[in-house]
């Protein structure tokens, strides 16, 4: 496979021909903030946090779905991008009810981590305080829509890795929500295999193991990684 050479933040980087900008940057030790991206499942390009600037292209491009090209000059951390990233995170915090102090994922939350690493010390938009339900009907897991950021990782792992197709999206815009099967309580689902991959994939406290309380919800992504590596590379070991 041919390699491509490109520049990321002024640094010359070589990448595999079909690599995305995100993969090339990660390999070169350059971190780009992501939220909907999850190693091992196909990308959605939805959260817009990994947008980068590419010289000569006026539009910002998502690093997770844009393939590298020879000579591409990428900037991942400009003032403009930082401004957009912070605003996007603030929009998320204002959109639903993210109360870190009482969240199962406090201290282990990707949204929380991104917020402070992007310098978000307060939310400048008015909080919307929508009313959302918690689905506690499943024997092992719970789903709190208040904390859902609609990254669709759970949907993608459910379809792509587990192949169960239990999780889905319903509604649109601010009313969009994750559903199980044809919008029935999770506990009543015929298709759910209780595999828990969705819970492992969730970046926030939206999906949780029942019984976990504030700050207790830690996720183990190594299992997802193990499965994907085994399936795609035929290696029965979890890669680093």
């Amino acid at each position: 496979m041919a390699a491509k050479t490109l520049i990321i933040n002024g640094k010359h980087v070589s990448a595999e021909e079909n690599a995305t900008i995100l993969e090339a940057a990660t390999e070169a030790g350059i971190s780009i903030p992501t939220l909907c991206h999850l190693d091992g499942v196909y990308d959605a390009g939805a959260c817009r946090l990994c947008l980068v600037e590419v010289a000569g292209i006026s539009k910002l491009l998502p690093a997770c779905t844009t393939k590298v090209a020879e000579g591409m000059d990428v900037s991942t951390d400009t003032e403009r991008l930082r401004k957009y990233r912070r605003m996007t995170l603030e929009l998320l915090f204002a959109e639903r009810n993210h109360v870190c102090a009482v969240c199962v994922s406090n201290n282990h939350c990707e949204l929380q981590t991104l917020a402070y690493s992007q310098g978000m010390e307060h939310v400048r938009f008015e909080y919307r305080f929508p009313k959302w339900e918690v689905d506690n009907t499943h024997a092992l897991f719970g789903m709190d829509h208040n904390r859902c950021i609609l990254c669709t990782r759970c949907v993608r792992v459910c379809w792509h890795i587990e192949g169960a197709g239990t999780k889905n999206e319903s509604g649109r815009g601010a009313k969009e929500r994750i559903i199980t099967d044809l919008n029935q309580p999770w506990g009543a689902s015929d298709t759910c295999t209780n595999c828990g991959k969705c819970v492992m994939a969730c970046p926030t406290g939206a999906l949780f193991y029942k019984g976990s309380t504030v700050s207790e919800m830690e996720r183990d992504r190594s299992k997802l990684e193990f499965i994907v590596t085994a399936r795609e590379k035929k290696q029965w070991i979890a890669s680093e």
């Binding site: 959605a44 817009r48 204002a94 815009g173 969009e176």
Partner: protein, 569 residues
């Protein structure tokens, strides 16, 4: 079907033309004011007057001056399907016809009198139109393929299949200079060339008929009035790019368009103008209709394709573009209704003829749906480069009740408001973009001096907020915040800092959203801010605390005690 069969059908149809043709509009606009009842009453009246042998009552498509419907026009001796409104001053036009008027209308053919309101076919609204896409609209019977064939229908398809290589077809399209009529104005020939050149055993052609802009009804009218022109255009496109399957994606809110399309497809198949070995060539092509559930975002091509595949209609990042990886990952040609409807005339009359109409960079004509505060609400087709003033003042008749036109909104929720001062702008893709708007699919909403521009911006923002698919954060959550801020401004509760926040949100949503819906959602706000900023600032209230601590445009700290904070009692 060979060419002789086609010519025979056309000749037979023309020969069967009766002395008089009473054309009655059966498009959705007039149907909503009972034009179907009018047509039936006319049939009865003709029978009762014993004129069956001399008079044909023909249900036709849109006769354009929708606000005066139901419309009925009587043609004298002429060339049947090719009689044009402007070319037939003898043909009196009747407006607001009711079923009770039928007898007196038929009586006029025997020298009788009628009190039915007469329209003026010689007014600029009609005479300044140049009909390419709408040439058959209001003339042919959309329910009968013979009527379309008599208007030279399917001849272009024959000529293309039998006399041109796919490469010739693409080159002719490039030469014609046609640009996509769906909104962005991408050169059609170039798109066809890309799909043609992309390797693939299976390719598709899609017609985007998911017209969703508020106030826009061009595509619906074309489908209801002349469905075969779209089918023929798609077939020519399919031949050019090497596709064998087409889909027309229509929204479920267009039941009449759907039934006429399905009927047209059935008739074309019966006549072997669709199917295998069309005109005894090796060309195979089928078209299926896919009905959308009316989500605005499904007009976005990647979302549309996802919906055709049976999945949730949400967009995906481009590239890859549909030309490369489209429907079921196959190379796909996707064009809008009006674009396809332009294709048969281009091949009938030649790309040079088409390129001779319009401006340097925008060729041909454009259909507009004129609505809002305007005297002549309806459908009009004018050459590219016609000024807005000509369209809204001369042809549209200006604002009703002696009001003054304040602005013209083009391009739907993705477009912008063009102020009255800029009415002399020639309408083409590039000049509208310079004014912060877009051509869009052709919706044109006129506002008079009673319209409040912040209200207009809020209306479109609410639309975008409701129609956001929810996939990407800036569009899903940003439109909610923008709508909230616009409400706050309209309620007189906003401060200059809220306006700054609104502007920084516009910047964010425009530059970071995934698809065109989000990227253009701020346009109505941006364009009204550009031309009517004072209407915003007049609604703002003073900030009791000094300005923001930093220059950060998103800063919202402080602000006065809002009225909303009255305690509960």
């Amino acid at each position: 079907m060979v060419i002789d069969d086609l010519i025979a059908i056309a000749e037979q149809e023309r020969a069967a033309r009766k002395k008089y043709v009473i054309r009655c509009c059966l498009a959705a606009g007039c149907m909503s004011s009972n034009s179907k009842g009018v047509k039936e009453a006319l049939d009865v009246a003709v029978k009762e007057a014993g004129l069956e042998n001399d008079v044909e009552v023909r249900g036709v498509g849109c006769m354009k001056l929708c606000c005066q419907g139901p419309l009925v026009q009587i043609d004298g001796d002429g060339q049947g399907a090719t009689v044009r409104i402007e070319g037939n001053p003898q043909g009196p036009l009747y407006q607001r016809v009711t079923p009770e008027d039928a007898a007196s209308l038929v009586a006029t053919l025997k020298g009788g009198k009628t009190n039915v309101q007469r329209g003026d076919p010689a007014q600029p609204f009609f005479t300044n139109q140049v009909s390419i896409v709408l040439a058959n609209s209001g003339i042919v019977d959309p329910e009968r393929i013979e009527s379309y064939i008599a208007a030279d229908g399917y001849q272009a398809l024959h000529d293309v299949l039998r006399e041109m290589t796919p490469k010739d077809v693409v080159e002719a399209m490039i030469k014609s200079g046609l640009r996509g009529r769906g909104g962005a104005g991408y050169p059609t020939g170039l798109k066809w060339a890309t799909v043609a050149k992309t390797p693939g055993n299976q390719k598709y052609v899609i017609c985007n008929a998911d017209e969703g802009d508020p106030g826009a009804f061009m595509d619906r009218s074309v489908l209801e009035s002349d469905p075969h022109s779209v089918l023929e255009g798609m077939a020519i496109g399919a031949y050019a790019v090497g596709a064998n399957q087409g889909f027309i994606y229509v929204r479920a809110e267009y039941p009449l368009a759907i039934s006429r399309l399905q009927n047209a497809i059935k008739q074309a198949k019966q006549k072997e103008l669709l199917g295998s070995g069309v005109f005894e060539s090796p060309f195979n092509f089928n078209i299926d209709v896919r009905i959308g559930a009316g989500a605005f975002v499904c007009g976005e091509e990647t979302a549309l394709m996802s919906s055709v595949e049976g999945k949730r209609g949400s967009p995906r990042p481009r590239p890859p573009f549909p030309a490369e990886r489209g429907l079921w990952s196959s190379p796909t040609l996707i064009n809008n209704v009006e674009t396809f409807a332009n294709v048969p005339p281009i091949f009938r009359k030649g790309p040079e003829w088409f390129a001779g109409i319009g401006t340097e960079k925008s060729k041909g004509t454009k259909v507009f749906a004129l609505a809002g505060r305007i005297t002549n609400t309806g459908l009009l087709e004018v050459p590219m480069g016609t000024t807005l003033r000509e369209i809204v003042e001369k042809m549209g008749g200006g604002a009703p009740d002696g009001r003054k036109i304040k602005a013209v909104q083009t391009g739907g929720p993705s477009g912008g408001c063009i102020p009255a001062e800029a009415l002399d702008t020639p309408v083409d893709y590039d000049s509208l973009v310079k004014l912060g708007s877009i051509m869009g699919s052709g919706g044109m909403i006129v506002m008079d001096d009673t319209s409040r521009m912040v209200d207009v911006a809020r209306f479109f923002m609410e639309f975008c907020m409701d129609e956001s698919c929810g996939k990407c954060i800036p569009c899903r959550a940003g439109t909610v915040q923008m709508y909230h801020l616009l409400n706050k401004i309209l309620e007189g509760k906003a401060t200059p800092r809220d306006l700054e926040q609104l502007e920084s949100l516009c910047d964010l949503v425009k530059n970071t959203s995934l698809c065109g819906l989000g990227q253009t959602a701020p346009n109505p706000v941006l364009s009204t801010l550009r031309f009517f900023r004072k209407e915003y600032t007049d609604l703002l209230k003073e900030d009791v605390y000094a300005g923001p601590k930093t220059d950060d445009p998103g800063q919202t700290n402080g602000g006065p005690k809002p009225e909303a904070l009255l305690p509960v009692t």
